[in-house]
Every structure is written in C-alpha cells, then in structure tokens.
Symmetry: C2
Subunit: 241 residues, 2 copies
DNA sequence: GTCTATAGTTCGATAGAC
DNA sequence: GTCTATCGAACTATAGAC
C-alpha cells in the first residue's frame, strides 16, 4: 500500500513544521516568530507552510490546539476516573479529594513541560504567551480551549472543599493555573535564585538541581499540590469579602 | 524661569511617549508593537521616539525600568519598615510575620494593577510578557530588576517560617510571584468563569463584580495573602523531596 | 526640538516552473 | 507536492528642512 507509506511520510513533514513552529512561537511569541525561521528549523521550504496551513495565523492556531486538546482530554479522563472510582466505592465515599482533583488538573501540563520525550516542552512557554496576551487571538484561543475544562474543575474543587464559596473556587482555580503555568515553563529563574551552592556538600547524589529532572515529576507535583491545597482550604475558612 | 517651564512641557512629551509605549507594548508585546502606533497614541511624531530614546529597544527598557524601579523601591521600604518595627519593639518581637512579608511583596504590584490613578495598569500586562519571555532581553530585564529584591524576600520568607528549607523558600517565592503577576494583570478571565449570574439576587449592592474595583485592594490582598501563607506553611511541614 | 520624506530591511504570501 | 523567485506591504531608523 504505497499510498499509506507516502501518507506517513507527508504526515511527518507536516508534523516537523508543527514541531518547529511550536518552538519558534514559544521562543518569540506570534509576532516575533517568522515563517522563514520556522521553515528553516523544520528543514522544509518556506512556501510549504502556506501550502499546508494557509497562513501564519492558521499555523499558530493549529499548533496551539494540538497540545491543548490532548491536555484537556487527559484532564477530563483523569477527573472522570476519579469520580467513577468514588461512586463505585460506596456512595458515601463521594467526590474525589482536593488533592486528587488538583493532581488531575496539573499533571497533564506539568508532565508536558518536564518530559522531553513527550515533545511538548516548548508548548509550555507558548501557552504562557497566550495566557499573558490580551489581544483578540489570545483570548479567543484560551476561551475556546480552556473555559469548558475550567468550569469542570471549578465544580470539582468546590465539591471537594465543603464551605468553599463558588466565587472563591474561581479564584482558587485561577491561582492554581497561575502556579501551574509558571511551573510547566521553567525559565531557569529558580536556579538563579537558589542559595549560593551549599558548598560543603559531601554527597553529590543529593542535589539533582532545583528544577526537576523528568523523573522528579511526582515529587514536583506532590509539593505543588500540597501548597495549593493548603491555600484553598484556608480560603474556605474565611469569607471572600 | 522659562527654561524650567519649557523643561516641564518637554518632560510631559517624553512621558506621554512612555505612557503610550507602556500600553502598546502591554497589548502586543515587543515585536507586536510598532513605533508608529506608539507615536500615534502619544500624539507625537514617530521620529521623536528615536530622538528621545534612540531606538525601539531602548524605549522598551526605559518603560520597563520606570515602573519596576518604583515597585522595588516601595517593596524595599515596606520590608525595611517592618523589620525596623520588629527590632524597636523588643528584640524578642523579632522578624515580621509571613503575612506582613507577603503584603509588602504583593501590595506595590497589585496596587499598580488595580488603581488606574497610578497609571500603571498597563505595566502589569507588560510585566507578564517579560516574565513569560525566554529571549535574551526578557531574561536580562527580569534579572537586572528583580533578582536582588527576590533574594531579599526569599530571606524574609525563610526567616518568618521556622523549619522552611532555603530551597523551599525559593519555590514559595516563585509561587507567590506567579499568583501576584496573574493577579495584577486582570485579563477578564475571572468574569468569564464566574457562576452564571446568581440570578435571584435581591441586593445588587452585594456584587461589585468579581475582579476588584480599586477600593477592593485591601480585600483582594488579604484574600491572596491568606491563600499563599497557608501554602507556604504547608511546605514547611514536609521535606522538599 | 519637531516635522516630512525616504532609505534600507524584512516580512507574509503567492505565482509559476518542475 | 515541492521548489525558486518575487511582489507588495510594513517595519525601524535616519537624513535633512524648518
């Protein structure tokens, strides 16, 4: 079946452009990136970008949607699994715990940022640009991709913390996302701020570096979830205003 | 003294360009902004930007430094005042509390974002762009303007929370900044995610809107400080790894 | 100091050969 | 499908009149 083989090759060419675009957009933002730089990094001809995607704008949206769809599908699946487990284990087991909800929310994004094998390390920084942007494109993309999942997890957070007002749950969700985005896009700032080499250290194995290596994912997540969960529970003990 | 009067007028022209540049850079990022758009918004001639500032690049750095210097000076003063008060009130009173430190850290930025009278609402979004950027300019600007103050407050956080490891204090600081930046640059996302008009509301005075009005500054700050302080204290109770 | 006019680049996009 | 060549637009920056 030669057609399938050829299709496979072509698919690789398109994905090479998508991967290159992801990196160049992440490094420079939409306006700072050029289609020529993307084509060069992809090892493709500059005209192919317009042949495949029609425009720089459409390429950007394709790059963005590719990862965000995967992230949100995984978030949805993890949350659904937690809720199903809670129901099957006797109805009094009830809703998943706050820590479980936060893990389901953060793990797909943080894993993407920390695991180079998944190829999405650059998307993390791309997402920061879009989240920061106030232009029409940025708001449209975040709204279209993340509003629905946001409402889902705001509900789950509210359900996991008795006494948490709905408005407070929204702020807690936004705080969570703020930390999560900063966490998934390591800018190297943590290293700069770390204490000056705790010099007289005897066991070098102890210090794999402040920013997590891929296998530190669980540890980074656990630490961050603990931080956020404590903050959210503190919000439930006091009125919003 | 005509020279002084003329100087005053000129100073206004330069500041008009700075204000316009702040807004246009905040809306579109460095590459998305054009000197023509800045000049038009400032009501000035496009060539004046180069006459006053030399280049688009230099203008950007001037805009950035103007506010960050003011923010960090205020942070430094507030922290010093807290520490001086702690010392004068008997040596056992000791270091300022965690809540006091967080307030000193966040108040100057959040106030800037929420008080239109201070004219810095746009800088908040500009800072988000720079904080998100991984290019050389962004890293140089954040490092030059914010690394020193970061170390100061990391020390203060560590001093306020017994048992908090130094490395944990760095992560706590970064979490604080992540929330603070998101907080000072309202993108309107909170409104979108708020519950669908709790419709049968009898008293309209109760809902001034989810994003704070200027006079809500203290309330927003108190809520955020409570969230973060609880998260930081939770970090002190468990090892980093 | 402030303006007009424009030089010199670089960009996104496309036409057309193969 | 893939390439070369190039168009037209928009940009930063500057030269020079006033």
């Amino acid at each position: 079946m030669p057609q399938a083989a050829q299709r496979a090759i072509r698919r690789d060419a398109q994905e090479a452009i998508l991967d290159a675009a992801e990196q160049v957009f992440a490094d420079n933002g939409f306006h700072g990136a050029t289609t020529r730089a993307i084509a060069e990094l992809a090892g493709a001809n500059a005209a192919l970008i317009h042949y495949y995607f029609g425009s720089k704008e459409a390429l950007f949206e394709t790059v963005f949607a590719r990862r965000s769809d995967a992230i949100n599908a995984e978030r949805r699946n993890r949350l659904a699994a937690l809720q199903a487990a809670g129901q099957s284990a006797g109805q009094s087991a009830g809703a998943p715990t706050l820590e479980q909800v936060l893990d389901a929310l953060l793990r797909p994004t943080v894993a993407l940022g920390h695991d180079p094998a998944r190829g999405g390390a650059h998307y993390a920084r791309l997402l920061v640009h879009v989240a920061a942007g106030t232009d029409a494109r940025s708001r449209r993309l975040t709204g279209a991709s993340y509003d629905a999942i946001a409402r889902l997890f705001i509900d789950a957070i509210a359900a996991a913390v008795p006494g948490l007002e709905r408005a407070s749950a929204v702020h807690c969700y936004l705080n969570t996302i703020a930390i999560g985005i900063a966490l998934m896009a390591p800018t190297g700032r943590a290293q700069n701020l770390m204490p000056r080499q705790p010099a007289p250290r005897q066991d070098p194995r102890q210090d794999p570096g402040p920013d997590a290596a891929p296998d530190d994912l669980d540890r980074v997540l656990a630490r961050t979830v603990r931080f956020i969960a404590a903050g959210i529970r503190a919000m439930a003990m006091a009125p919003t205003r």
